[in-house]
């Protein structure tokens, strides 16, 4: 790279030499010796003058530029403008350059200051969110304790006496609704924790065949009652080192959805897993109403429900799939859906065989 200093020296050196050379030639070839000598001496002076002028000009240009460069380097490291090393210059261009740099520096300083304030505010908001959600959760769960307790006492005739059929039905309905409310509170809390990166994952060796049979058992009563066929498709027995309860939760949410969308008597649900390089690929497949292409993209968003009338009937919270996504991603996996309307829907999720213990990255929203 060329420096201003060297370029100036080169140009002035060459021009001084030419002046000197012309004086010399003039002196040698001139008839009148005294005039030639005067011209030679004059040319020597001019040459030296040019060189000296160059040195001084180059200094007055390069010095402030060097200083400016130093200041810039320092600023880019510290992000702070310093009052030391002030630049003094008479050269208009450099003066303006420095002034612009100083203004820019001040703006950057201010922006950083504002940014810091925002980060601080976000941190406080984050903390408030956590405090609020734990407060709400505590306040919502507490009254559920006596409600659930008395309902369960009413369900046992040896405790609070025999109920007639209608009363029994009513109590069972209260029980189911209370359970739903309990689940909803749990779902909201889980979502909250996922958002704040506070969900911690445990890891253990999981036998996948045991896991799948265990999950199916949870739904046995509901599926037999509605004559929905539910089976397992597992070609080989697999192991995974991951969070059992959370994988279970993903399966539960997906199966609950499937059960909600298949018809009684003809409903068919298959759950399974297969080996996929470093991952285990799980799936839940059903022959329910399916999901249109446009809804498939929105599906994993919070509180998104395909059709409010059906979901109201099903009593979902609209958080199930968002939770699934949060959990799967927290376990370093991926979740997706393939669906053909009124034919078949399959939810897939892939989880590394050895997922690392991490909490979901903190998303500041």
């Amino acid at each position: 790279m060329l420096s201003i200093k060297h370029t100036l020296f080169l140009v002035s050196g060459v021009s001084s030499f030419i002046i000197f050379y012309m004086g010399l030639v003039n002196f040698i070839t001139s008839v009148d010796n005294s005039t030639g000598l005067i011209l030679l001496i004059f040319s020597i002076f001019v040459a030296i003058g040019t060189l000296l002028a160059t040195v001084s000009i180059s200094k007055s240009i390069t010095k402030p530029i060097e200083k400016l460069t130093q200041n810039m380097t320092k600023f880019s490291k510290t992000k702070k403008m310093s009052n030391k090393n002030k630049i003094k210059t008479n050269i208009k261009e450099i003066f303006e350059l420095n002034e612009n740099f100083e203004n820019m520096g001040k703006t950057v300083e201010k922006t950083i200051e504002v940014q810091k304030e925002y980060v601080e505010k976000l941190k406080i908001m984050d903390r408030k969110k956590v405090e609020f959600s734990s407060m709400v959760s505590h306040e919502l769960k507490t009254p559920l304790v006596p409600i659930l307790g008395y309902v369960q006492m009413l369900q046992q005739e040896e405790l609070l006496g025999k109920l007639n059929e209608k009363q029994k039905e009513a109590v069972d309905e209260i029980y189911l609704s209370t359970k739903k409310l309990e689940r909803l509170i749990g779902d909201i809390l889980t979502t909250q924790k996922l958002d704040l990166g506070k969900l911690v994952f445990d890891k253990e060796n999981i036998n996948i065949s045991e896991l799948l049979y265990g999950i199916i058992k949870e739904f046995e009563l509901e599926t037999t009652e509605r004559k929905i066929n539910i089976n397992i498709n597992l070609s080989e027995n697999l192991q995974i080192f991951s969070d059992k309860n959370r994988i279970n939760q993903v399966f539960s949410n997906l199966i609950k959805n499937s059960i909600g969308f298949v018809s009684s008597n003809t409903g068919n649900i298959t759950i399974g897993a297969k080996d996929s390089f470093n991952d285990v690929e799980f799936f839940v497949q059903d022959n329910g109403i399916g999901i249109s292409a446009e809804n498939q993209n929105e599906l994993f968003k919070k509180f998104y429900q395909v059709d409010t009338s059906t979901s109201r009937k099903r009593g979902g919270s609209g958080l199930g799939l968002a939770i699934c996504k949060g959990i799967v991603e927290g376990l370093k996996g991926k979740i997706w859906v393939i669906s053909e309307e009124n034919v078949q829907t399959t939810f897939f999720f892939k989880i590394p065989k050895k997922s690392i213990k991490i909490s979901v990255p903190n998303k500041l929203k």
Binding site: S134, S137, I147, M153, Y175
Partner: protein
């Protein structure tokens, strides 16, 4: 779901007959609706219940009488469950009691593990099916 839980109830019932006739249970919880419900239930299940509606009162009862199991709420105004645990810890008597922390607070697994390490017997998160609660109480008393 409801039916599933009921079948569990039946298991609890048979188990219960094999074991103890009556346990002395202390419930420390500031929520009177909860303590009333629990004592109603436990008494119907032929258990003996003492209720304390705050930590200080609970601590006094703990020091006066032995109980087979103590159900301890964490979040209480002023003298809370943590204060009760700390007090017992300071007098070196925490491990003499079978304390089940019974809480609706948002508490992490790690925090619960710390409590158990300190000498709390176990924990139950609210809300819970009362029959499972009873089976846990019996389990704790027999441990």
């Amino acid at each position: 779901m409801g039916y599933y839980k009921l079948s569990k109830t039946e298991r609890v019932k048979t188990k219960q007959k094999e074991v103890i006739e009556s346990l002395e249970i202390l419930i420390i919880d500031d929520n009177e609706q909860i303590t009333k419900m629990l004592s109603t239930f436990l008494e119907l299940k032929k258990q003996k219940c003492t209720v304390a509606n705050d930590g200080k009162e609970g601590l006094a009862i703990i020091k006066e009488n032995r109980h087979d199991v103590i159900l301890l709420d964490l979040a209480m105004p002023e003298f809370d469950g943590y204060a009760v645990i700390k007090d017992l810890e300071e007098s070196n008597t925490l491990k003499d009691h079978k304390i089940i922390v019974f809480t609706a607070s948002t508490i992490t697994q790690e925090e619960l593990d710390v409590l158990v390490d300190r000498g709390v017997h176990s924990y139950i998160l609210k809300p819970i099916d009362i029959d499972i609660l009873l089976s846990k109480i019996i389990e704790t008393a027999n441990s």
